[in-house]
Every structure is written in C-alpha cells, then in structure tokens.
C-alpha cells in the first residue's frame, strides 16, 4: 500500500529510498544473521572448556605471572568468542564494529592512570601510616 502511494505521487527517489518496505523487510529477516546451529554449539563447547581452564588455574593454585597471564588469556578468548559469534559482531559492517569496539580500548588509558595513582597512594600510606 505504502509503495503504491509513493509510486502514484511520481518520482521521489529520496522518499522511496527511506520508505518502509515490508517485502524487503521480510527478505532481510529471512537472511538476517542465519548461521548453522552447529556453530553456536561449538562456541558453547569452547566457552565451557575455557571456563574450566580458568577454574583449574585457581584449583591448582598457580601463582605469579603464570596465573595472571593465563587468567587474562582465557578471559580475552571467552570475551572474543561471545562478542564475535554470539553477538554476531563478526558479521556486522565495520562502521558499527569499530564504533563499538574501539572506545572500550581507551579504558586502558584510564587503567594506566589509576595504576600510577594507586602506586603513589600506597607509597604515601607506607611512608606516613605504616608504624601507627
């Protein structure tokens, strides 16, 4: 109906381009993010494996740099799988992916600032409050 009305009014390319078209919508829906169920099951399995691995890091009581690097490694892998496959970011247009994924990286700047700040606070506390 909507299309007929627009067509009847004559050539209005801008209006036509942005008018809502149910046929296109249905087609997009049929296509929209169709992936085999197996893919989700495989990712699910991997998330279980990675979670078990990070649990085992604690269970076996690993310490020091080995513990931290393993924890961060498993964390990044899990986060990557969830965002890329479950949230379909791997198939989104780059303009969206970069707009969403780049800003959180800037949190690392904040981390750096707060690490420096807390080192300074700790130093001050040790110097002035340690013996009391």
């Amino acid at each position: 109906m909507a299309n007929v009305a627009v067509h009847a009014e004559g050539p209005q390319p801008s209006l036509q381009a942005h008018a809502y078209d149910p046929a296109t919508a249905a087609a997009t829906h049929a296509k929209g993010q169709q992936h085999p169920i197996k893919l989700y099951l495989v990712v699910w399995g991997w998330l279980f494996v990675l979670s078990t691995c990070s649990f085992l890091v604690d269970y076996f009581g690993l310490q020091g740099n080995l513990r931290w690097s393993l924890i961060v490694l498993f964390m990044v892998l899990k986060a990557g799988l969830i965002v890329a496959v479950f949230m379909h970011m791997a198939w989104e247009r780059l303009a969206l992916a970069y707009a969403i994924l780049v800003p959180p990286v800037l949190v690392l700047v904040f981390v750096t600032i707060m690490v420096l700040e807390s080192d300074y606070t700790l130093l001050t506390r040790l110097l002035f409050f340690a013996s009391t």
Partner: protein
Amino acid sequence: MAETALTTTGESSARVAGWRGIAADWSSDQRAFKNVSWGKAMMWIFLLSDTFIFSCFLLSYMTARMSTTVPWPDTSEVFALDLGGKHIPMILIAIMTFVLISSSGTMAMAVNFGYRRDRVKTAALMLATAAFGATFVSMQGFEWTKLIMEGVRPWGNPWGAAQFGSCFFLITGFHGTHVSIGVIFLIAIARKVLRGDFDVEKRGFFTSRKGHYEIVEITGLYWHFVDLVWVFIFAFFYLW
C-alpha cells in the same frame, strides 16, 4: 502509511573495505550504520555506555586493592564450599559461570530460530535462558547470604582489607541487577513471540511500532553482554 523511521535494515549498499569503508559510511548522508536498524544500533550504544560503567567499577576495585596496605582476602578460600565432605575452592562461582554460559548458548539458538520464524522453539529457548538466569540470581543470593552470615560488610570483613566488602557488594550487586532485568526482558519478549505478535507485525503498546523478530536478537545482545561482563568479573574479582 509509510514509516519514516527505519525499523529494518533494508538492502545494504556495497561497501569499500577497511578504513575507507568506515569513512565512507560515516561521512554519508543521514545514516552511518547502513544495514543496521536503529533498534540494534541503539542497543549497541547502550551496551557501550554500560561497558564504561562496569569498567569504572572494576577500575575502582583495582585502585582500592592496589593502594591498600592491608592484605586482600584470599578469594579462593572465601568462595570455597564443602560439597559431599570435600572442600572445593571457588566451586560455587564455577557453577554460576557454567550456568550463565549455558544461558548464553540457549539465547544464541533462540535468535536463530526467531529468524526462521519458529515461534515455539524460539519462545522455549528464551524461557530456558530466563530459567538459567533466575538460577544464577538465586545462587548469587545464596552467596550473598553466606558471606553476610560470615560477617562481610561494606565497611569490613574478618579476613583482610575492608574494601573487599564494598567492592564485592557493588560489583556483583550491579551485575545481579542486570541479570534480573534481563530475565524480565526475556519473559516479556518470549510471551510476545509465543503469542505470534511478530508474525503479524503487531504494534507495540508503548512505541506503537511494528514488531519484528529482530527484537529477539536485540534482547540477545543484552543477554550476551551480561554474560560478557561476568567473564571480566570472574577473571578480575574472583580469580585474580
């Protein structure tokens, strides 16, 4: 009536690869996200802002923990449970992690069946997701009760640095709230799916826009994000 706001993606124009494509999309007229509906784009932007909220919580936890002169409580022992006569460290948190990952798995499949217009399977998987979420929140309730009984308060605890309690209650409490809201969201959308609202494109009571199965994917984005936040909390708060 022609809808002025695009609720679906329409056909996507050809894209140039890499940075050139991003610049072309962002500098073009009217829409930066060419083949993404406003609903999905707004959910992503909300999730981005939520990312910053949780980042700030985890950062304040990091700052408190790095700058205190008192030793931090041993989380491995604090969250240990005695199961069947055996003392297992961190076991409750591990089970909670598996429950939440499983809920993410069922959610991902619900999105898939939604786009195939399989009403019953979509609704069933969404309700399964909600059930996993409710299980997670109840286990968190158990964990909170246990810790409060043992004397953990936002201003102190029996094992070490006083900030442990405030960080714990703030971070897990905020995450638990997100899970609870997600459960409500899931049940509401599952009810609409089951009723066939999206097959007839029934208009929503609040927005009065036509409903589409894409809302299942948008709900899924929120739910996976909740799981994603837990990945970071699990790593930084519980395991570190």
